[in-house]
């Protein structure tokens, strides 16, 4: 098939070379089928199949050796060709948002994603400090809140007594840090991408509404997600921790400087070929 080798020309040719029809692939396929059918019927079938497959293969080779065989198909007369594509009469509505025409990705201004990761780390740290403080004050143990968190994933902690929860557990520490870290980073990231999308009062959403929302979700499902925690949770403290997380994360995100998304610009402007003025 010379399609990609020929230089495109604007002139319509009279004939176009296409691969010639051939029966040999079918014959080969039939031979192979007979060959295997012989295994379940009679070896004579296999012998016939082998012969047919070989004949087909030789025929096939003769189709492509030394060069692929082509046929030249005449091009249909212009009256039967495709109509030129018509320019659409209708109008294309424009999105108001974003100044660079209607081809936008919304929203036009965002916080950099990195700010979300930073915010997640900050929020996670503050929350961890609060939770650890709770553990120290109420249970005299730093490990207690960590173990409680890890009880979501560690069966021995899930069934442990309160005494055991106060003791140090290396699995608990590892799982706790991992779980807390992943969740904090992800939530921070979500904050960075979503805060610009909220209407006004981002701090209210980020600091109060969202933490209360997921606290509610957790309240409803804590029995299944983490029964050990559900049985021992001190809800006021819990809510305080979540709101602290939300506040800090939201603050860090909001403090970062908004950047305009590159996608609101046309390609040409993005790669610097055209200047802004040349756009409509």
């Amino acid at each position: 098939m010379p399609g990609n080798e020929t230089k495109p020309s604007s002139e319509t040719p009279t004939h176009i070379a296409l691969p010639a029809p051939t029966m040999w692939p079918m014959v080969t396929a039939f031979g192979i089928t007979l060959l295997v059918t012989g295994l379940v019927t009679n070896l004579a079938v296999s012998v016939v199949g082998l012969v047919v497959a070989l004949v087909g293969a030789v025929g096939w080779w003769r189709d492509v050796l030394p060069a692929d065989r082509h046929e030249h198909v005449p091009v249909v007369p212009p009256s039967e060709r495709a109509q030129p594509v018509q320019v659409a009469a209708g109008r294309v509505e424009h999105l108001k948002l974003g100044q660079a025409g209607h081809r936008v990705r919304v929203p036009a201004e965002i916080h950099p994603y990195s700010s979300g990761l930073k915010a997640g780390i900050a929020g996670g740290a503050v929350m961890a400090v609060l939770a650890l403080g709770y553990g120290l004050i109420r249970h005299g143990s730093l490990w207690y809140p960590i173990n409680l968190l890890s009880a979501a994933a560690v069966p021995t902690l899930a069934t442990a007594t309160t005494e055991q929860l106060r003791a140090f557990s290396s699995t608990g520490l590892a799982v706790g840090i991992f779980a807390h870290g992943v969740v904090s980073l992800l939530v921070g990231f979500v904050y960075a991408v979503m805060v610009p999308m909220f209407p006004r009062r981002g701090w209210l959403w980020a600091g109060i509404v969202l933490p209360l929302f997921w606290t509610g979700l957790f309240y409803g499902t804590s029995k299944f997600i983490n029964p050990a925690l559900a049985g021992r949770v001190d809800w006021p403290w819990f809510v305080v921790c979540q709101i602290a997380f939300g506040m800090v994360t939201g603050y860090v995100v909001a403090r970062s400087e908004r950047i305009e998304t590159r996608q609101t610009w046309p390609l040409a402007a993005r790669i610097g070929i055209e200047s802004q003025e040349e756009r409509e």
Binding site: A89, R103, V106, P155, A179, L186, V190, F224, I225
Partner: protein
């Protein structure tokens, strides 16, 4: 034997069995004992079988609807809890996405007058795409934590030293059941003691297979575990209610996969002890069936079946030592009545077409003799 004997005899051709079963109403999870006795008075063959042991009303309960959301055993409860979580999460996502879809379909359909105009061409939004990547990751992360806990909790659960140990061997198409600590061998009906929240009596099951892969599934007691040849699997159950629990082989294992039914009889510890004792008691030779006994030992029955304390030591078919203590025949394919037994001995394929027990070509007189002998195996 009591209950089975008391049932009114009925001619049981295949159609007969079907008709009788069809009239049996849907059993609720907790069958009202009054209703059962009413049914018994009507003389119907109860397919779900109340068991031939006259226990208290409680033990006779058949949990015939094996709803996985009504767990009655420890591992099934653990599974149930995570199932509820998964269900809640999925329902939440369903509601959110489903209503977005419904809203889009209603709100953004083209209206008269829209012809020729195109809506704003929007390529996407990195922010939205990031958000709907990150939030699912969060959800998945939570689910993974809980999955890790529950999986390890069920699979690596420490069992008390003295818990009952049972070896279950899958066969095409029946279950061989060993109680190695008691020296008891039976088939198709697993008897285990009931647990309570403060007194654990879990049963450890070791699952093996003699031929192809099967799967042990009694939904209300635990999730399924496969019985795989050349490999031993372990699972455990810890039921909190007495009664008969129904289950099936859950891995396709050949022609009669459908009739490889399993029943687990959960009894009070006393009842269970009584049952074990009765299974262990020496076999009493009932002289009344001598002719059938001779016939049994002179035909090829003994090649496949085992009767403890006799020359019959076959292992291809179910152990028949206490055949009449079981409530069903042929792995739950029919209830264990003399009529069904007769039908079975005459030609097993009328009840379970394609099963591996051959049609022995016995004449009616011989069938009578064999059945008479089998009826003595209490």
């Amino acid at each position: 034997m009591g209950a089975a004997r008391r049932r009114k005899p009925k001619i049981l051709r295949r159609e007969g069995i079907r008709a009788a079963r069809a009239t049996f109403p849907l059993t609720q999870n907790h069958v009202n004992p009054a209703r059962i006795s009413k049914l018994k008075r009507l003389g119907l063959v109860v397919a779900g079988g109340t068991g031939s042991w006259a226990f208290g009303a409680d033990s006779a309960q058949v949990h015939s609807i094996a709803n996985i959301f009504k767990p009655l055993s420890a591992p099934a409860e653990a599974v149930y809890e995570i199932s509820l979580l998964a269900l809640l999460v999925c329902a939440g996502i369903f509601l959110v996405v489903g209503s977005l879809l419904a809203y889009a379909v209603v709100k953004f359909r083209s209206r008269p007058g829209d012809e020729g105009t195109e809506p704003p061409q929007i390529y996407g939004s990195n922010q939205l795409e990031m958000a709907w990547t990150a939030i699912p990751i969060l959800i998945v992360f939570v689910l993974v934590l809980v999955t890790a806990r529950t999986t390890a909790d069920v699979q690596n659960h420490p069992l008390p030293e003295d818990s009952l140990k049972v070896r279950v061997v899958g066969h095409q198409w029946w279950w061989e059941i060993h109680y190695p600590d008691h020296g008891v061998i039976t088939a198709n009906e697993l008897h285990i003691p009931v647990s309570s929240r403060d007194q654990r009596r879990p049963t450890a099951l070791r699952l093996e297979s003699a031929d192809v892969i099967h799967s042990f599934w009694v939904p209300q007691l635990a999730g399924k575990t496969d019985l795989i040849p050349n490999r031993a699997n372990d699972m455990w159950v810890e039921p909190y209610q007495t009664g008969t629990f129904l289950g099936n082989c859950a891995e396709y294992c050949g022609t009669q996969h459908a009739k490889m039914l399993l029943r687990v009889v959960v009894e009070t510890p006393e009842e269970f002890a009584r049952w074990i004792a009765s299974q262990k008691a020496p076999v009493v030779q009932d002289s009344s069936a001598q002719a059938g006994r001779d016939l049994f030992f002179n035909t090829s029955c003994v090649n496949c079946h085992r009767i403890s304390g006799t020359a019959a030591e076959g292992v291809f078919g179910p152990d028949l030592t206490r055949l009449m203590s079981r409530s069903t025949l042929a792995a739950g394919a029919a209830s264990n009545t003399p009529e069904n037994l007769r039908l079975w001995v005459q030609n097993p394929h009328t009840i379970k077409p394609g099963c591996l027990m051959p049609d022995m070509q016995l004449n009616p007189a011989e069938v009578e003799k064999i059945v008479a002998y089998l009826l003595t195996l209490k």
